[in-house]
Amino acid sequence: MAKRLDLKDVDIYYGKFHAVDGVTLAVPPRSVTAFIGPSGCGKSTVLRTLNRMHEVIPGARVEGEVLLDGEDIYNSAVDPVAVRRTIGMVFQRPNPFPTMSIRDNVVAGLKLQGRRNKAELDETAERALRAANLWNEVKDRLSKPGGGLSGGQQQRLCIARAVAVQPAVLLMDEPCSALDPISTLAIEDLIAELKKDYTIVIVTHNMQQAARVSDQTAFFNLRATGEPGHLVELDDTPKMFSNPTQQATEDYISGRFG
């Protein structure tokens, strides 16, 4: 079910503030694309325009085209709710629903969309938890609250929750930045597995992580503070880290700034 994403000359605004300027890039299906760049350059902003989460902020708007398998997700006939159903998202801080059990957290998306069949939900919960490499740790406490898990487990629970609705694309915004190194490794392994079924876009500030998990890497930068962020270059990850085209990329990757 994985789909490709194409951004065509996308400009992103917060009210009057022009946050991101003219991004054009393609994300092929069944691959991992990493967004790197100094903080404030608009990585999260771009990511959030990919499933129309950007517009929940008052005054926020997007210009240009974002195509999901050729279909413009910003077409006025498209319901943003349908977009988000197709393009899932995992956030920086794990955010399980505090009032729900582990199982209910996983199937929250389906339940809230109106599915009631218990057997189907149970099956989905197990499949998603297995996909998130969490099944063995929680299978005996599915009815316990999700808030009782460790940070890393909570993040994998959130990933399970996102994949349970069977999205075509999975967006992740620094999913490991709040986690310890062991949990981080667990999530990285998970990303490598999920790649078989999903199109994945991940924002990370950790360049080793980008190098480890991604197939292609996009480097974003700011020309100056107050200026909009922009895409400097996008290329296969090995090439980006060994032999980037742009000087700015080279400087950033070799740690000369940022």
Partner: protein, 356 residues
């Protein structure tokens, strides 16, 4: 802390965007891990039940908000509608009349001057008593009491607000009045030359006067003044307090130079909210104050009636709209009075930036 203003205005995900050229060609779905075929976004995105639900729910919520706004207007309007016929039939002067004869619909003669005197004097007296004590309590709870006990202590003061006013009324009339009689007698005897303490228009011994009522009222508004002042004082910037401490200021000097200036507006509006409450207090005053045909002389040892207590005392027996309208006219004045006091209090607090 999440920014409440952002939370407050998350635009609806159902909000339609601007229409663009449709590039909605469905692309062949790639094989999926699950059996379900990948649906086109467009097909899933028709004006669905979800959007319908969003519109309805949003409508309900917004309607409830608008209802609140309309309600205040409606209160004023309906009271006015009921008051006008009686005001037109009034033989006396509504603003300057000192009697309130409204029992006979064919012979209405009512004015609010007398009520205004008593209402204002008892409220101001209560405020004078409650303001310093409330300030002291708020300072004690926020600046002096040890952290561990501050909360339970604050809860105790808040409990005062949970006691129904009728119980304060009973206590005031039957328990407090006899207990403070010696004080009243002392004041009357030694300071009787001053109009506040001169011989009242009801017998001093019963204690059914403004003096008793004001003390009870002060107790009743104390938790309001304390709660809001406390909230504001608590928000004194830590940095300011530490700056004062670092200069070698004593506790009191810290309070005087940082907490009080910072919290002054909040304290004033807290007191005005207390005043608003005092002006409208009904049942406690109805129980405590003795009705009297004699005119109000300004003494704390006078009886009489406030707007609210007079309405409550007489209303139950009414059976015709004209008589009721006379009392409703008095109620309208009370409504406007409390509206002005409360609105001013809210504006002061909003201006000062320390929202309570």
């Amino acid at each position: 802390m999440t920014d409440p203003t952002v939370a407050a205005s998350l635009a609806g995900p159902g909000d339609p965007g601007d229409r663009r050229g449709g590039s909605a060609s469905a692309v062949p779905a790639t094989t999926a891990p699950a059996a379900e075929p990948a649906p086109s976004l467009l097909k899933a995105g028709r004006r669905t039940g979800a959007q319908q639900g969003d519109r309805i729910f949003r409508g309900f919520a917004t309607g409830s908000g608008a209802f609140m706004v309309a309600l205040i207007g409606a209160i004023g309007l309906f009271l006015l509608i009921q008051a006008v016929p009686s005001l037109l039939a009034n033989k006396g002067n509504f603003l300057t009349g000192r009697t309130f004869e409204a029992g006979d619909p064919n012979n209405l003669n009512f004015g609010i001057l007398e009520l205004s005197f008593v209402t204002v004097e008892v409220s101001i007296f209560a405020l004078v008593l409650a303001m310093p004590v409330g300030l002291g309590i708020a300072l004690f709870l926020t600046q002096y009491a040890p952290r561990r006990v501050a909360r339970p202590f604050a809860y105790l003061v808040d409990l005062l607000a949970a006691v129904p006013s009728i119980i304060f009324g009973l206590w005031g009339a039957f328990v407090l009045a006899p207990a403070i009689l010696p004080i009243a007698e002392f004041l009357n005897e030694h300071l009787g030359w001053f109009f506040l303490f001169q011989e009242g228009n009801v017998p001093l011994a019963r204690g059914a006067n403004v003096f008793t009522a004001g003390i009870v009222l002060a107790v009743m508004i104390l938790p309001i003044i304390t709660a809001i002042s406390r909230e504001v004082f608590e928000r004194t910037p830590r940095a300011q307090i530490e700056a004062a401490l670092a200069l070698g200021a004593t506790k009191w000097e810290v309070v005087r130079t940082t907490v009080l200036p910072f919290g002054r507006a909040g304290y004033i509006s807290a007191s005005m909210l207390g005043l608003g409450r005092a002006l409208g207090e009904t049942i406690a005053l109805m129980i405590i104050l003795a009705a009297t045909p004699a005119m109000f002389s300004g003494s704390l040892f006078d009886g009489g009636a406030t707007f609210a207590s007079m309405i409550a005392l007489s209303f139950a027996e009414l059976n015709n709209n004209l008589s009721a309208g006379a009392f409703i006219a008095a109620g309208l004045v009370l409504f406007v009075l409390t509206f002005v006091v409360n609105a001013a209090a809210r504006l002061i607090i909003a201006r000062s930036g320390a929202k309570a």
